[in-house]
């Protein structure tokens, strides 16, 4: 009896609690990954989140990184990280640049995760699937393009572009990856953009369309100094007449997408994506804005006093406040625009010394707007070299604060020009931003050399 009692008692005790369900808890305020992408709506929301990341990036952050590397800005006030970029001394703790880098890849991950999960989505038509893939790959290419321009030495820095670029992320994965060569990165970007160009619709609301892919291809090839290819893509977009130059100089419009925007970020009163961009510059409510123009910008601008773009700043002694973004509650941000495309086509044609009349028309279309119709036109007999010079000047003026001028300086450096930025050669180590610390968390990742520019 004793033993029976014992066994019964022990069994009762041990089986008191035995159910694996007691150990099943799922987080309540999120969706488990396996359940997150099941319908076409899920996919569209995920795709929209890629644009959301771009919205956070192009709310001035990307533009500021690029602009700080040029000589357009005075040394920033009250922002140590901005100063680090301005001095070409980023290190892997520079949280500002680390955040920008991380966000680009965040968008890449989201796109890749969507592509990897397409098979799980039941109600997605093949045409929708293709359209989504094309959008994903457009964004993936845009992100890789921006990162490789800022975090690596430029294309043509080495003859075969075997110098280190950035990690290429083709699939969603937590695996650490080494840096690919710049050639590999550009090949990857072009592959993605060609797919996007072939599969994106001509019109796609505020999202990426075929023209955006073509325009970005024009920029990519221009950055590679492949002017012929660049011109052919630019012609495709410009010739479509889908985009026109606005009559006024302000392409940062509230509640309207400017007619020259080929691809951009949208804001509305409930979802403002322009404060970050505006607030580092704005001087209407801030006596000491973080970012102001350098004296050299003002000197150059004032060589043509009748240029309406002189209204984009106001000088107080050596202090040149940017007024371009004052008095704007919010605005839509063009990322790829017709002005930029026209000027790279013009410069490319100048380099090629062909179709100079088209190039001169392109330049004049910009000058007409800034100076008044026909008041400051290029001489029709201008040489290819002149065209290059004029196109560059207009591009520089038009893209002040947009952060893309540094790309042109570096590209020109690769073509043998003696480019310096605030006394630093275009290819000094610090001109390539340092990667985030986290990139070195796995062995084998090669960081950029720091500093060396001052």
């Amino acid at each position: 009896m004793k033993i029976n009692h014992l066994i019964i008692s022990l069994t009762a005790v041990v089986t008191m609690t035995s159910c694996d369900k007691l150990l099943e808890f799922e987080p309540g305020d999120v969706v488990i990954a396996a359940d997150a992408l099941q319908t076409a709506d899920d996919a569209q929301r995920m795709l929209n989140s890629n644009y959301d990341v771009l919205g956070n990036l192009y709310d001035g952050r990307v533009q500021n990184v690029g602009e700080l590397l040029t000589e357009n800005l005075a040394i920033p006030e009250n922002n140590n990280d901005f100063v680090s970029v301005w001095n070409r001394e980023t290190n892997f703790f520079t949280s500002f640049t680390n955040g920008v880098y991380t966000d680009f890849y965040r968008a890449v991950y989201r796109g890749n995760a969507l592509l990897d999960n397409f098979d799980l989505i039941e109600d997605l038509s093949s045409s929708e699937k293709t359209r989504m893939e094309a959008e994903v790959r457009f964004i993936r290419a845009l992100c890789h393009f921006q990162v490789v321009k800022l975090w690596a030495q430029p294309y043509n820095y080495t003859a075969d572009n075997s110098h280190l670029g950035i990690p290429i992320r083709r699939v969603a994965s937590q695996e650490p990856l080494p840096r690919s060569t710049v050639k590999e990165v550009y090949d990857f970007i072009i592959e993605d953009l060609e797919f996007a160009r072939a599969n994106l619709p001509l019109s796609n609301g505020v999202y990426a369309n075929k023209h955006a892919a073509s325009a970005l291809l024009a920029q990519v090839y221009f950055q590679m100094s492949d002017y012929t290819t660049s011109v052919s893509y630019a012609n495709e977009v410009i010739g479509s007449n889908a985009f026109t130059l606005d009559t006024d100089l302000d392409r940062y419009e509230q509640d309207a997408i400017n007619s020259e925007t080929i691809f951009g970020i949208v804001s509305n009163i409930l979802d403002i994506r322009s404060e970050g961009f505006r607030d580092n510059y704005r001087s209407d409510n801030n006596a000491n804005p973080t970012l102001t123009f350098s004296g050299s910008v003002v000197t150059t601008m004032q060589q043509t006093p009748s240029d309406a773009r002189n209204d984009w700043f106001s000088s107080d002694g050596a202090f040149h406040k940017v007024t371009r973004f004052n008095n704007k509650e919010y605005y839509n941000i063009p990322v790829i625009h017709l002005t930029g495309l026209l000027m790279i086509r013009a410069e490319a044609l100048g380099h090629l010394n062909q179709d100079l009349d088209i190039a001169i028309d392109d330049i004049n279309s910009i000058r007409d707007r800034a100076f008044g119709e026909g008041l400051f036109d290029v001489d029709p007999s201008a040489s290819g070299a002149d065209v290059v010079e004029f196109a560059r000047l207009e591009l520089w003026k038009e893209t002040l604060c947009e952060g893309t001028w540094i790309d042109q300086l570096k590209r020109r450096g690769t073509q043998g020009e003696a480019i310096t930025v605030r006394n630093a050669p275009w290819d000094c180590p610090g001109m390539a931003l340092q990667f985030p610390n986290g990139e070195t968390s796995a062995a084998g990742f090669i960081l950029n050399e720091e500093g060396g520019c001052n």
Binding site: L6, V13, S49, L447, E450
Partner: protein, 1033 residues
């Protein structure tokens, strides 16, 4: 509070119970002297008493013949008969003899008790006396220096601050590295991060536990001891046993009054000194004229403006340290009763403790009550009930990086006035600031903040347990237990509008968390003796534990005070802007067993096994198996030892086992996406986005521990010691690794690392002098070697301790300081010289040349307690020490580095000034690039600020006097004791900073593991002077 009233009522009912005219009294002693805590019971009744500190007792008895039974664990029971006449007092002294079997105490081992001599694992027992002998912010701080291998670092002098306890080193990286705390069988909620590090203080989940309720604390160290807690024993287990009723009746009252002062003070520069150094830095940088001054002028101002500002600054010299520090007053009152009869036993206690720190406005108040009631229903069933309720009120102030004394040590420059002395006008003559208005810099001013901001944490805690002990047949005990641990933490903050100069009204927030923690267990224990020589003890059981944590926030704008002060807010909580989190939940389901076998009373064997399932792991790795085997050989029982009289006890024991750790966030294994309705739109369309990478293969972190020890008692226990060696290898150590951002994420949980902890512990107790004058010494020392053995393909930067520059470096201890090595100041030019990875000197500060420059783990820690007693006097001195650890004084990089908007410490006066100067600090500069730092990066993270943190401190010195025969009219006390004590009276150390014993606020468990001994404006420890009065009747 109702419960408290009930407890109080019970006290007074019991208090009023019987007193009669005849008395028996005396002293119970053993061969060594008086025995406190022995039980004296009138035979056949429930009337009884415990002996006081001096072994004395006193009982009221009926006239005539009586018998008392005197018992004490480890001694043979004695009964004495005596006769007492009406109104007489009889004195009866009894000397107990040690029980041959119960050579020593019993210890709590987890789901049971064992005789210490038969324990095969490594367990340190700390009695209540050691815990209550000194005032500490919470009980665990009193464990410091008491047990070998248990490193206790008291956080700081901030009221309510917790301690950092490491049992035999740290074996975890990202998972919690704290030991498991178990109160009366319930693993309690022990989350230090319910409120993150808000205000530079982590919440202390142990602060609401009343030290006076604690009977004993057992610290389980090796696998044989912790194995029964299996998956959760890898970092040790701390078992807290609360007091229960004993035979007879005893009332205890204690009170304490004291004052708190800082154990050390920061040495900040005066205005003259600061201005002189800043001017020097300006001139070193090539500046001319007067230097610009933060908040008074700017670098772009012209010379005249700068001069005016400089001269204005010279007129003020505020000692911000004095403005934030004061003398804190402490008071505590405890009242307890122990009562027991044949059927029942009861312990009830109430306590009030008001513990002010030396920081102005900072105190921790605790009110608590406990009732432990045991009732024997019949010979088959006994019911045990425990409940406690406590409320901790933490009157908060900003510290460290958050402000207060931290500001006084950093951004509160001495030339800033506390208040404007006269009206401040703008260029147009308008009054910008009125005289008397607080001077604010970046919206701060420690005095203004302390006066205007209102901030309180309220922590309600109740730990409850109901158990049934069923004895269906002889030797079989079944225990069914249910426990519930409730914690509700509210942090109320009122930010006055005056600090932002925007409004007279302010905003108030309440951040609240509550944690519900249920525990059910069932065990069956069977004793099986096969004759005298073979004794078995079988235990099997299962346990289920579940915890749900909730969080919510309430936010009010334009109000006059915090919710706890403003009735209209309290009554209208629904009007608040509210946030609420979904619960975070975890559960454990466990099955375990233990077999003890004692052969011939001298060979002891134990096997334990536990299977744990955790909700934190996926089905593929959910259950872990954690076995241990151990054996002990009581050599002194062998015949060949019988003739050796010098050795009265000798035991050799060894154990090997596997334990685990699963203290990671509840949902770390899940890949997650945002909710569909997350409210985030782009282009007015909804978005879905991934939040966390999945790792479905996440599994238990496991430690394999080998332990071996020799225990000896010599010269009739005049000398007893224990020497242990252990080797603990932890595998699959959980890391929240920094993944490359190019993955699209920043972190990922994975089982990656291996950690070795290996060490030796030695504890000795000697009774140096025995007799009228007694002198006893307890000494312990522990040496632990810690090494991160492997971290896969990851680099030191894969895991970091918050902002503390502590990293994981293979071959070095967990949490090593990873900094640029500073060599010296070049006497020729005053520039700092660094050492690169090749060992070459360089002026370039480069993050790429960071390296291991030390770690915060000590080579040895321990304590020495000397106790002297003579007649009714006793003197106890507890010294604690730590040898070989380094401190990274992280805030020094601003206090002793580039001249910025921080005040500096006087050490910086030893700076380079001219060629040929040999100095500690380089030439002063306002420009970080002078030191080779990247521009915009004033964080001078170098080994210059890594210091030797070895120390020995007089942790507690207490002088006690037992006043004999205290009577008030006819009322006689069984004991009456007065104690004066001082904590942290002195500290011997080479550390030039505030305090070599430091635990700063941490961001998360990983930071807590990786960053011991990093200080960042952390306040010093307190020195307190206290007078206590304790009496029993």
């Amino acid at each position: 509070m109702n419960r408290l009233r009930i407890v109080l009522s019970i006290f007074f009912v019991l208090f009023a119970a019987g007193m009669s005219a005849q008395t028996v009294k005396g002293v119970i002693s053993d061969a060594k002297g008086p025995l406190p805590g022995a039980s004296v019971v009138l035979s056949g009744t429930t009337t009884g008493a415990s002996t006081g500190i001096d072994g004395s007792y006193e009982l009221k008895v009926k006239p005539g013949k009586n018998v008392i039974d005197v018992t004490f664990v480890g001694y043979t029971k004695q009964s004495k008969e005596f006769t007492v006449g009406v109104g007489e007092t009889v004195t009866l002294n009894v000397t107990l003899k040690e029980d041959a079997i119960f050579l020593d105490d019993v210890v709590v081992v987890g789901y049971g008790v064992q005789r210490k001599r038969e324990v095969t694992g490594s367990i340190a027992k700390i009695e209540s006396k050691a815990i209550t002998s000194m005032p500490t912010p919470s009980f665990e701080a009193a464990l410091q220096g008491q047990a070998a291998g248990v490193q206790v670092s008291q956080g700081s002098g901030v009221a309510g601050a917790g301690s950092l306890i490491r049992v035999r080193g740290v074996a975890s990286v990202s998972a919690g590295g704290d030991p498991l705390y178990v109160v009366d069988g319930i693993p309690i909620t022990q989350d230090y991060f319910l409120r993150g590090n808000s205000g530079a203080l982590n919440n202390n989940p142990l602060a609401t536990i009343n030290p006076n309720d604690i009977e004993s604390v057992e610290i389980l160290k090796d696998a044989a001891a912790t194995g029964i807690y299996g998956s959760r024993g890898a970092n040790g287990v701390i078992l807290i046993t609360t007091k229960r009723g004993t035979q007879g009746t005893q009332y205890d009252f204690s009170s304490r009054f004291g004052i708190s002062t800082p154990a050390s003070l920061p040495n900040m520069l005066t205005t003259d000194e600061y201005l002189t150094l800043r001017q020097e830095a300006w001139e070193n940088d090539g500046g001319t004229g007067y230097v610009w001054l933060p908040n008074f002028s700017s670098a772009s101002d012209d010379a005249e403006t700068r001069e005016l500002a400089f001269k204005k600054a010279q007129k003020t010299n505020t000692n911000w340290v004095d403005e934030t520090i004061g003398v804190g007053f402490k008071q505590a009152y405890n009242f307890g009763v122990r009562k027991g009869g044949k059927k029942y036993a009861l312990y009830a206690g109430i306590s009030y403790d008001d513990n002010s720190s030396f920081l102005q406005g900072n105190s921790y108040e605790r009110i608590s009550g406990r009732l432990n009631f045991d009732y024997t229903v019949n010979k088959y069933l006994k019911v045990l009930f425990s409940t406690s309720a406590s409320r901790g009120l933490n009157h908060r102030v900003d510290v460290a990086w958050s402000g207060g004394l931290g500001d006084a040590m950093s951004t509160a420059l001495p030339y800033y006035p506390i208040q404007y002395e006269e009206d401040e006008l703008d260029a147009d003559g308008n009054v910008v600031h009125e005289a008397g208005e607080y001077f604010l810099f970046s919206g701060k001013n420690p005095v203004a903040v302390q006066n205007l901001k209102k901030w309180r944490n309220t922590e309600d805690r109740s730990i409850n347990n109901l158990s049934a002990l069923i004895t269906p047949i002889k030797n079989l005990t079944i225990k069914l237990s249910g426990g519930f641990d409730y914690m509700h933490l509210r942090e109320d903050v009122y930010n006055p509008g005056a600090l932002s100069q925007s409004s007279d009204l302010g905003s108030t927030n309440r951040y609240a968390n509550y944690v519900l923690n249920w525990n059910y267990s069932g065990t069956a224990n069977y004793l099986w003796d096969l004759g005298e020589d073979h004794k078995f003890n079988f235990l099997i059981g299962s346990e289920f534990q579940r915890s749900d944590s909730y969080g919510y926030g309430l936010f009010f704008q334009d109000v006059t005070g915090p919710i706890y002060e403003v009735d209209s807010l309290r009554e209208n909580l629904d009007a608040a802007l509210r946030t609420a989190n979904n619960p975070s939940q975890w559960s454990f389901l466990s099955y375990f067993g233990r077999v003890n076998y004692t052969l011939k009373n001298k060979y002891v064997f134990q096997g334990t096994a536990r299977v744990d399932g955790s909700s934190r792991f996926g089905r593929n790795n959910r259950y872990g198996f954690f076995p241990s085997l151990s054996a002990g050989w009581i050599i002194s029982e062998e015949n060949f030892m019988k003739g050796i009289e010098r050795i009265n006890f000798m035991k050799l024991r060894a154990s090997y086992g596997i334990t685990g750790n699963a203290a990671i966030p509840d949902y770390a294994r899940f890949g997650t996406f945002s909710q569909v309705d997350n409210g985030i739109l782009y282009n007015q369309q909804p978005i879905t986005f991934p939040l966390q990478l999945a790792n479905p293969d996440l599994r238990w972190e496991t430690s394999r521990t080998f332990d071996m020890a020799l225990e000896m008692g010599m010269f009739n226990d005049r000398v007893s010691f224990e020497l242990s060696y252990y080797h603990k290898m932890s595998r699959d150590v959980l890391l929240n690794v920094n993944v490359p951002p190019s993955t699209g994420f920043t972190n990922y949980w994975d089982n990656v690392a291996q950690i070795l902890n290996r060490g030796v512990e030695f504890a000795v107790k000697t009774r140096n002098i025995v007799g009228k004058f007694n002198w006893t010494t307890d000494f312990n020392i522990a040496r632990n070697y810690n090494e991160l053995v492997d971290i896969g393909n990851y680099t030191p930067d894969a895991v970091s301790g918050g902002t503390n520059d502590s990293r994981v470096i293979v071959g070095k201890p967990v949490g090593s300081f990873y900094l640029v090595e500073f060599s010296h100041v070049d006497p020729d030019n005053g520039l700092p010289v660094y050492i690169d990875l090749e060992g070459n000197e360089t002026y370039d500060y480069d993050n790429a040349i960071r390296k291991y420059v030390g770690d915060g783990l000590p080579d040895a820690v321990g304590g020495i307690t000397n106790t002297f007693s003579w007649k009714n006097w006793d003197l106890t001195a507890l010294m604690t020490y730590s040898i070989g650890a380094k401190i990274f004084d992280s805030s020094s990089k601003r206090q002793l580095g580039v001249v910025t908007d921080w005040n500096m410490r006087t050490e910086v006066l030893d700076r380079w000034r001219q060629p040929g100067d040999v100095s500690t600090f380089p030439m002063l500069t306002l420009d970080e690039t002078t030191y080779g730092l990247p521009s915009g990066f004033p964080w001078w993270n170098t080994s210059l600020f890594v210091y030797d943190a070895s120390y020995i401190r007089l942790r507690n010195l207490s002088l006690g006097y037992n006043i004999p025969n205290v009577k008030i009219k006819n009322f006689k006390f069984s004991s009456f004791r007065v104690v004066f004590n001082v904590t942290n009276l002195f500290t011997l150390t080479n550390f030039p900073g505030l305090d070599p014993e430091v635990v700063r606020d941490f961001e998360n468990a990983q930071d807590r593991n990786l960053s011991p001994n990093v200080t960042y404006l952390t306040p010093p420890q307190e020195r307190s002077y206290n007078l206590s009065i304790n009496f029993s009747f």
